[in-house]
């Protein structure tokens, strides 16, 4: 079915497959190894809200007088009335009534239950109001133009390379290609949808042909063809099939749980399915587009938040048996302008909201400091400042995922901020 709204269009995913267990079977051509049997190691999902999500509308300082003065009511979360938001405890400033968007019901529950941590005023240390530069910096794990110019790889690629135990990884993508975070990590598999299986077109004769003509081919295309054939084989072989050999559509743990998540459901289901196929999935990246709300934000944002909230909670419940080994980090390239524009929208800003969901997360708490919204506190007098560097959040997530300190080259030049303490201990159970 064709998506009908811009805000759900770019739902892409990338999934890294890695294995850290015994019983590895090597896959010819790729140098890939994957685990047989119950290979459920730690799983990290990096979710990017593309377009610059308005953190101030997702978690509003709802009764802050400067905020109320700067924005029309439809671009703030209300404290009273039928559309009032969810008042949260352990906010960054107890003098202010912080409220989650009214459509974020499931996120509010996950927060209250202690699984979800919120990091307001998080983002990129450099003042970048360009989508494409900000995304590049975040994917490369840097925070200034000079470092970006020097960088030739994504932070996830450097992290995976440092994982001595992980033999290899693949990537899976709905939008066509692995995200820039994997740049420099060749073993990437992109999968948009597993509904129709994942075979070579025209199997089996064409698979044989392709194996032959790509076997010795030089260059990037030759390597891409060989990697694709190996990855297709790996995934397709593991897909459950009916008597006629047709792939069986994925059945989430709870029927219909993803239904209200729109197109955001598709990549989440692919990740959940691959996680359950026990092919050694260890890292996944998921994109959720449409957050660039320059106009008509109230209605669009409601839909986006509902999909985000429903989708994340469906995914969380779908993978319930492995909660203690699951971490999801939610990021965006920047927040949006403190003052709304006259198109009932908001333009590009600075600080936004990051979220971390996981079984070992010390949730139910907001982390990091709150810079405030007085004119003197705003970045350049116009935007919520960035108090927490996104690399601080991701560093703590990686330390927990890896079970030890993160190598310095993952975020080159990053000295680190005060530890937030997002996890109960920096070590997830490994298998």
């Amino acid at each position: 079915m064709r998506p009908s709204r811009r805000d759900i269009l770019r739902a892409g995913i990338s999934v890294g497959l890695g294995a850290a267990l015994d019983g590895l079977s090597p896959l010819p051509g790729l140098g890939l190894a994957f685990a047989e049997g119950n290979a459920a190691g730690p799983l990290l999902v990096v979710l990017h809200l593309r377009g610059g999500a308005d953190g101030l509308h997702l978690l509003s300082p709802a009764d802050d007088p400067d905020f109320v003065a700067a924005r029309q009511s439809e671009l703030r979360v209300a404290t009273t009335g039928a559309d009032a938001g969810h008042r949260i405890d352990h906010s960054p400033d107890e003098r202010i009534d912080f409220r989650l968007h009214p459509q974020a019901n499931a996120l509010f529950d996950l927060y209250r239950e202690g699984h979800l941590a919120l990091i307001p005023a998080a983002g990129l240390a450099a003042a970048i109001r360009s989508h494409f530069v900000a995304i590049d910096m975040i994917e490369h794990g840097v925070a200034d133009a000079a470092a970006l110019a020097r960088s030739d790889s994504g932070w996830l690629a450097r992290y995976l390379r440092g994982q001595t135990k992980a033999t290899s990884a693949l990537t899976v993508a709905a939008a066509g290609a692995p995200s820039g975070e994997y740049l420099g990590w060749g073993k990437a598999l992109s999968v948009p949808d597993l509904g129709g299986g994942f075979g070579v077109p025209g199997v089996p004769p064409m698979a044989q042909l392709l194996g032959k003509v790509y076997a010795d081919a030089q260059g990037a295309v030759g390597a891409a063809g060989r990697d694709a054939l190996a990855a297709i084989k790996l995934v397709d072989e593991h897909l459950p099939r009916d008597d006629q050999g047709k792939p069986i559509a994925y059945q989430p743990a709870q029927k219909g749980a993803y239904d209200l998540a729109g197109d955001f459901a598709r990549p989440l289901k692919v990740v959940a399915q691959l996680a359950k196929l026990d092919v050694g999935l260890s890292v996944a990246t998921v994109d959720f587009g449409g957050w660039d709300t320059h106009e008509n934000q109230p209605g669009r944002f409601r839909v986006l938040v509902e999909r985000l909230s429903v989708g994340l909670s469906a995914f969380w419940n779908d993978l319930a048996p492995r909660h203690d080994r699951l971490t999801i980090v939610v990021q965006t390239e920047f927040g949006r302008r403190f003052r709304s524009n006259r198109s009932a929208g908001t333009d590009h800003g600075r600080g936004s909201l990051m979220m971390v969901l996981g079984g070992k997360v010390q949730g139910g708490v907001c982390y990091g400091s709150w810079p405030g919204l007085k004119a003197k506190d705003l970045d350049e007098g116009v935007d919520l400042a960035v108090a927490t560097d996104y690399r601080q959040v991701v560093s703590e997530v990686l330390a927990a995922h890896r079970g030890g300190p993160v190598a310095k080259d993952v975020f080159p030049g990053y000295a680190g901020q005060a530890r937030l303490g997002l996890f109960r201990d920096d070590r997830l159970s490994h298998g």
């Binding site: 998506p3 009908s4 494409f132 042909l209 694709a228 106009e295 006259r342």
Partner: protein, 523 residues
């Protein structure tokens, strides 16, 4: 100084400068010389593109929807009707939305998609088609994200992109800025004095003209600190330039029925209109130039376009060189392109002159085989190379999308990237293979491919050689052997009897196999 190239060289060149060529075209170009082909292509006229025009007239595209209270159901093969229509003739699809199914509103977009595929496969003006594709990426709009953009797409494609693809950049920029498609896509239609909408203004600087490397983000509001600013020629822009340009462009909007005040309402035509009372008339400063308060209608916005159009020589020439050369872009080629761009700023054929420099450069000749084909190029070059008769369908368009190229459906304003990594991921490779096999085997109702008319019932060996020569300009013996062995076909035995359905199917599969090889993935 005419360059004489062999068929393989010409086939690769046609693949980069256009969408490939038929074996006859390759022979012709090898004979007249590359420079003559380029000269021919820089002056395209529709009148002599009769095969493509005929196919456009004859093409029927399915439309299907169910009956509802206000309309009856439709399931028909309908000719393309919106491509020649002025925007006001099809804007009623928006204003009378309650009276028809949504498929009718998407129809203008789907017709442009079908026409784009058809032209890629059959137009003799391959360079124009390639440039049209380049500019659609550069001035990207997403016709899947908004109904207004879908309805405005025929006019955007025809009056904005095609009309200026080989023309003058400053004129191009204003055509884009005043198009309903862009005004809706980047929200400028709703921008008002007071708190302007910055969406279009930011991408005007970052994506359309100066480029992201010219963004001095760390200087935010200190315009005097931008190099060159005090001489009135800043090397880049700052956030405050974006804010000010947004103010300058307030009031540039679309006749879409919006109320202006209690008494006045805009007509509903989809055409551009300037609304004075929505414009922020006070003084501004953009790119270190002062704008006086209360200038005549549209003067502020036009001055912004004048200023940004002064800049983009390096950014745009780099982008054009990367797209068309494929391989290494040397300093001399880039410098010559920039010099040509700059010297011809006022000329109506500015872009054509730059393309002449790029396509006749040493780097272009040396870039053969270095450019990964994007999915549309892959499909069209296959169609041309093996001689398929294709009528585009939704299934074909969806497979192009699966391979990474959803035509007119890239959601972010950066446009579909030129980066080859976008198109060789696991799934992208899988879909590239499916694209060629599906075309050859008629998976999506695009037409039966019957090569027996042209070649009878040859031996598999001969068939592979013929198809490889059509696609690549030559048949490498190692590759031929590898394909035959991969297909498990004995070398010398005939593929069957001429006219037998099995023969036709085998030949189609052999053609697809030749297209699926690594060698054909790049040009």
């Amino acid at each position: 100084m005419a360059q004489r190239w062999d068929a393989a060289m010409v086939a690769a060149a046609l693949g980069r400068a256009g969408f490939g060529g038929s074996p006859d075209e390759v022979t012709r170009v090898a004979s007249i010389g590359w420079e003559d082909w380029v000269e021919e292509q820089l002056r395209p006229t529709d009148g002599v593109d009769s095969d493509c025009q005929r196919r456009l007239r004859q093409l029927k595209l399915r439309i299907k929807y169910n009956a509802a209270e206000k309309w009856s159901g439709v399931d028909e093969m309908r000719p393309l009707k919106t491509l020649d229509q002025p925007i006001e003739s099809i804007w009623p699809l928006i204003t009378k939305r309650a009276e028809m199914d949504g498929a009718e509103r998407r129809r203008p977009r789907d017709e442009v998609i079908a026409a784009t595929i058809l032209r890629a496969c059959y137009s003799r003006w391959g360079l124009r088609e390639a440039l049209v594709g380049f500019w659609h990426d550069h001035f990207n709009v997403d016709a899947y994200g908004s109904e207004q953009v879908a309805v405005a797409l025929p006019s955007y494609d025809r009056d904005v992109i095609r009309a200026h693809a080989l023309g003058n950049f400053r004129g191009f920029l204003e055509a884009v800025a005043t198009s309903a498609a862009m005004l809706y896509y980047l929200s400028n239609h709703s921008s008002r004095a007071g708190a302007a909408n910055e969406n279009y203004a930011r991408e005007l600087f970052e994506l359309h003209t100066l480029g992201r490397d010219a963004y001095f983000n760390d200087r935010y509001d200190r315009w005097r600190d931008v190099p060159g600013a005090l001489r009135g020629a800043p090397e880049g822009y700052i956030d405050q330039d974006v804010y000010e340009a947004a103010r300058a462009l307030t009031g540039w909007t679309v006749e879409d029925g919006t109320n202006i005040d209690a008494q006045r309402k805009l007509p509903e035509t989809g055409r551009f209109v300037y609304v004075e009372s929505w414009h922020d008339g006070y003084q501004k400063r953009v790119l270190a130039r002062e704008f006086d308060a209360f200038q005549p209608a549209m003067a502020d916005g036009r001055k912004v376009l004048d200023l940004v159009a002064e800049h983009p020589a390096r950014f745009l020439c780099t982008k054009l060189c990367r797209r068309f050369i494929g391989g290494k872009v040397g300093h001399d080629t880039l410098a010559a392109a920039i010099e040509t761009w700059t010297r011809n700023r006022a000329r109506p054929d500015q872009i054509a002159r730059v393309m002449r420099v790029i396509l006749t450069s040493k780097d272009f000749a040396q870039g053969a085989g270095a450019k990964l084909r994007r999915p549309l190029n892959l499909a069209a070059a296959f169609v041309r190379g093996v001689g398929l008769d294709v009528a585009p369908t939704e299934g074909l368009a969806n497979t192009l999308a699966g391979a990474g190229q959803r035509l007119f459906g890239w959601p972010t304003p950066m446009g579909l990237p030129d980066d080859p990594r976008m198109f060789i991921g696991t799934n992208a490779m899988r879909q590239r293979w499916a694209l060629l096999l599906g075309l050859a085997e008629n998976w999506w109702g695009t037409g039966v491919f019957d090569a027996t008319h042209a070649m009878g019932a040859p031996s598999p060996h001969l068939a592979v050689e013929r198809f490889l020569t059509g696609l690549l300009g030559r048949a490498d013996p190692t590759l031929t052997a590898s394909i035959l062995s991969g297909l498990g076909m004995p070398e010398s035995v005939s593929v069957g009897l001429q006219g037998a359905p099995d023969t036709q199917k085998k030949l189609a599969r052999i053609a697809a196999a030749c297209g699926m090889t690594p060698a054909f993935q790049a040009a």
